[in-house]
């Protein structure tokens, strides 16, 4: 009895421990996987990004295969190895080497030097010259198989369409309740299916034969070569496509910093007032500060266009940051109010007794103590204004912010996911850098313990 109890308790401990780790792992995965895929896709070439299943790591090199095209007048066929499919997928067929190079670069992010391509073509010709007889032999052996396969495939598709037809008839007959007809149709279908099975079996055998022959044929009719992939190609393309994006980036940083300055100074003071002073309607006011956040940002931006235009702030970073601050101030007020409430008044009063004015006490004591919290709310304001698109689209015209540029690229790129991913990562980067800088203040410690 007692032993059982101990055992069950032990088991429960194990189970709860395991569950805990599963939950933690799950949360980590939920957070990390999307970010990880965004990042890897931003490093992938077009060809890789659309492969399924998507690989876990982006490749650093591309393996190419050069062959003669199916008909001599089409020139050469360039294929690239697909890791997920395990085969070489054709990229392009052309006589013009420039076209091949261009297409390869677009699809695989590898720039093949033209010289190399020429050399490889010579190599290919060489090999094919040397093994002329073998190629002839193998090809002539293969031709009947190919023809047979074609015939078989033709028959299979015919039978399939017939099966379809009978299936429809069967349904009609069943609905009409004609038992004899149903019986006859079922009979027919059965024999058709048998025939289909046989044909498929045969086709499989034939294609096996062809594969076998190909294994001998391919090495003497193609050349392989490997070229490194420019892993940051997407980013370069992104900045080229959005040639306005560097000034836009700078503008975005300006807007974010201005938003921090405005919302932190106004919201911070309001927060301080809420924390330290008692006045009529304080709670109501505190709630209503959040009220503005309940409206969608766009609805605030619309009327703002007119006001900002009249004030001369339209299409300027300051105008945009003013509008962002409207939403941010409420949040900052709440955050800073709770921070200031956490700092005992006595610390300020002590400063007042020991030689500070009220403002001096605030600057010497309260502000340094509130710094971690202020830094956190600065970060909040930064991220809020950094990634905002909807209002920025409305409130800018010729001087868009970075997210607007990314958004426009996204719309224009028509599903170039890897390019969009590169834009996304670029957008996250300054926010990450800012967070790293400000981290020092958020994790501020005095004597090893956070305040």
């Amino acid at each position: 009895m007692n032993r059982n109890l101990i055992l069950s308790r032990k088991w429960r401990k194990y189970v709860s421990g395991t569950l805990f780790y599963i939950v933690v792992l799950g949360i980590a995965l939920i957070i990390l996987i999307p970010i990880y895929f965004l990042f890897t896709i931003s490093l992938m070439s077009d060809q890789e990004a659309y492969d399924w299943p998507i690989r876990f790591f982006p490749s650093f090199v591309n393996e190419f295969v050069l062959q003669e095209a199916s008909t001599p007048d089409k020139g050469y066929l360039l294929s690239v190895y697909s890791h997920s499919k395990g085969i070489y997928v054709p990229l392009c067929e052309s006589k013009d080497l420039d076209t091949i190079v261009k297409k390869a670069k677009l699809k695989t992010n590898s720039s093949i030097p033209k010289e190399l391509l020429k050399r490889k073509i010579d190599e290919l010709k060489d090999i094919m010259e040397k093994n002329k007889e073998d190629i002839e032999r193998l090809r002539s052996k293969m031709t009947p198989y190919l023809e047979k396969l074609e015939r078989l495939n033709g028959r299979i598709s015919r039978i399939l369409s017939e099966v379809n037809k009978y299936n429809k008839k069967l349904k009609l007959a069943e609905r009409a309740g004609m038992k004899d007809a149903v019986q006859a149709i079922l009979q027919k279908l059965k024999s058709l299916n048998e025939e289909l099975g046989e044909l498929k079996e045969e086709a499989k055998k034939v294609s096996e034969k062809i594969t076998l022959l190909n294994q001998d044929l391919i090495p003497i009719t193609s050349v392989k070569f490997t070229i490194s992939k420019n892993i940051f190609e997407n980013y370069i393309t992104f900045f080229k496509v959005t040639n306005d994006s560097i000034p836009a980036l700078i503008r975005s940083i300006q807007v974010a910093l201005l938003t921090i300055a405005i919302s932190l100074s106004i919201g911070g003071l309001a927060g301080y007032a809420f924390a330290r002073y008692y006045f009529r309607g304080k709670n109501l006011l505190k709630l209503s500060v959040l009220f503005v956040r309940m409206f969608p940002g766009v609805s605030i931006a619309m009327p703002m266009v007119i006001i900002l235009a009249k004030m001369g702030f339209y299409d300027k970073p300051l105008g945009l940051s003013l509008v962002y601050s409207v939403g941010q101030i409420g949040m900052t007020t709440w955050i800073t109010a709770s921070i200031f409430m956490g700092i005992p008044v006595e610390l300020e009063e002590a400063a007042q007794i020991f030689g500070c004015s009220k403002w001096g006490a605030f600057f010497h004591v309260t502000l340094p103590l509130a710094l971690p919290g202020l830094a956190a709310s600065a970060m909040y304001a930064f991220i809020g204004s950094w990634s905002e698109t909807a209002q920025a689209i409305i409130l800018t015209q010729f001087n868009p912010t970075f997210p607007v540029v990314v958004y426009q690229t996204l719309v224009g790129a028509k599903g170039l996911v890897n390019l969009v991913a590169a834009g996304g990562v670029t957008m996250a980067l300054p926010a990450i850098i800012f967070t790293l800088i400000i981290r020092r203040y958020i994790l501020q410690m005095w004597g090893g313990v956070t305040v």
Binding site: E346, A350, I353, G355, P368, G448
Partner: protein
């Protein structure tokens, strides 16, 4: 030289709540004054008004004859030790002590000298480089003390600085504080609601209740010469026993009548009651002024013991009279048992009479020194 004078000092919170009301007090130079009273009696309020942290509703504050009632705290030349120390957590111990001096724009080497001197005085020299979080409560308290001493204020204000410490440390700090006071000779106002703290440290005790001062006096004065029922009941552990008695004159002698006893007064005790014309008064007898006798002959009354509380050096005996618990302090031996019948008499020289209505003392002792001799 620092003399503080509070004139009719009052503080009202909102429309109705009086934090302090009509405080009149003169603190002489180098004096150690203790504000004592139950929770919520206005000690902190008064102290904060002196410091300038609380706006004064009525009255004046004079420091060395100068009116400082409306002066901001930093110009008042006072320093304060807060109940929760209020040492700045983002500064090292050194900076905590040096900050007020820097605010005074003192030269650097002068500051350094003072900080070292003061930190040695309060025994925190080794911790100068640490942050407050790395210190124990007692050490933090000393940092607050050092900070307050360093500025050499005219008045030292302390708001229950020892209340967060454990009992043992509290007693030790009490002694240390007293020693520091002797060294610095700074005029000090010390707030506490612990009467043993007040008795052991104070030159004079100010006893407060509900925002008003009940009595000002030396520890002996407030103990033996309690002005009223409140003070007599507040000072001393266990508190004074109060009994409502009838005043009668029998055969030309004044007697006090209680349902359980009849007490004949001698001339000395009867003298102050000559002009008292109400027929009831409150008799106050301190537990240590009751004597347990061996036999019944001279006893005032006899009663059965309810509870015995041995205290080591003495024992406290509780009996019940008229639904009230009466406590008696007796020597450690002989040991008494519960339900035992004891015979009790009073130390006639220590009887306290209070007016039944105003609760004011009727028989102040004339000479305290004489009482102490007895």
């Amino acid at each position: 030289m620092a003399e503080l004078e509070l004139v009719n000092l009052s503080k009202r919170y909102g429309k109705k709540v009086w934090g302090a009301r009509g405080i009149n007090l003169k603190v002489t130079d180098r004096e150690f004054i203790v504000f004592l009273g139950p929770s919520g009696c206005g000690k902190t309020t008064t102290l904060r008004m002196i410091a300038g942290l609380e706006e004064v509703t009525e009255g004046r504050i004079f420091l060395d004859g100068k009116d400082i009632t409306y002066l901001p705290p930093r110009f008042r030349d006072v320093s304060m030790v807060f109940q929760n120390y209020a040492v700045w957590p983002h500064m090292t111990v050194y900076d905590n002590i040096a900050f007020p001096l820097r605010m005074k724009k003192m030269p650097k080497n002068e500051i350094d000298r003072i900080v070292k001197e003061v930190s040695k005085l309060v025994n925190i020299y080794e911790y100068l480089g640490r942050y407050p979080r790395q210190l124990s409560g007692g050490q933090r308290q000393r940092v607050a003390l050092a900070r307050a001493i360093a500025v050499k204020p005219k008045i030292f204000l302390m708001d229950e600085p020892l209340s967060n410490l454990d009992a043992k440390l509290r007693v030790r700090m009490r002694t240390e504080l007293k020693a520091i006071h002797h060294k610095t000779e700074a005029t000090t106002i010390f707030v506490t609601h612990d009467q043993s703290e007040a008795m052991s440290m104070a030159d004079r005790i100010v006893i407060m209740r509900e925002g008003r001062i009940e009595q000002i006096g030396t520890p002996e004065e407030v103990y033996y010469n309690s002005d009223n029922v409140f003070v007599a009941g507040f000072i001393g552990t266990p508190p004074t026993n109060f009994m409502e008695v009838e005043v009668k004159t029998e055969n030309g002698r004044m007697v006090l009548l209680h349902p359980h006893f009849k007490l004949e007064l001698d001339d000395e005790n009867a003298e102050p009651l000559k002009h008292y014309n109400k027929d009831k008064l409150i008799l106050g007898v301190r537990p240590e002024s009751m004597v347990i006798l061996k036999n019944k002959d001279k006893a005032v009354f006899s009663e059965r013991i309810l509870v015995v509380e041995p205290q080591g050096s003495h024992q406290i005996i509780a009996i019940e009279m008229e639904g009230k618990i009466v406590k008696i302090v007796a020597p450690a031996f002989p040991r008494y048992k519960e339900n035992e019948l004891i015979h009790v008499s009073f130390d006639m020289k220590r009887l306290m009479f209070f007016d039944a209505e105003t609760e004011k003392r009727l028989n102040p002792f004339k000479d305290l020194m004489e009482i102490q001799k007895v």
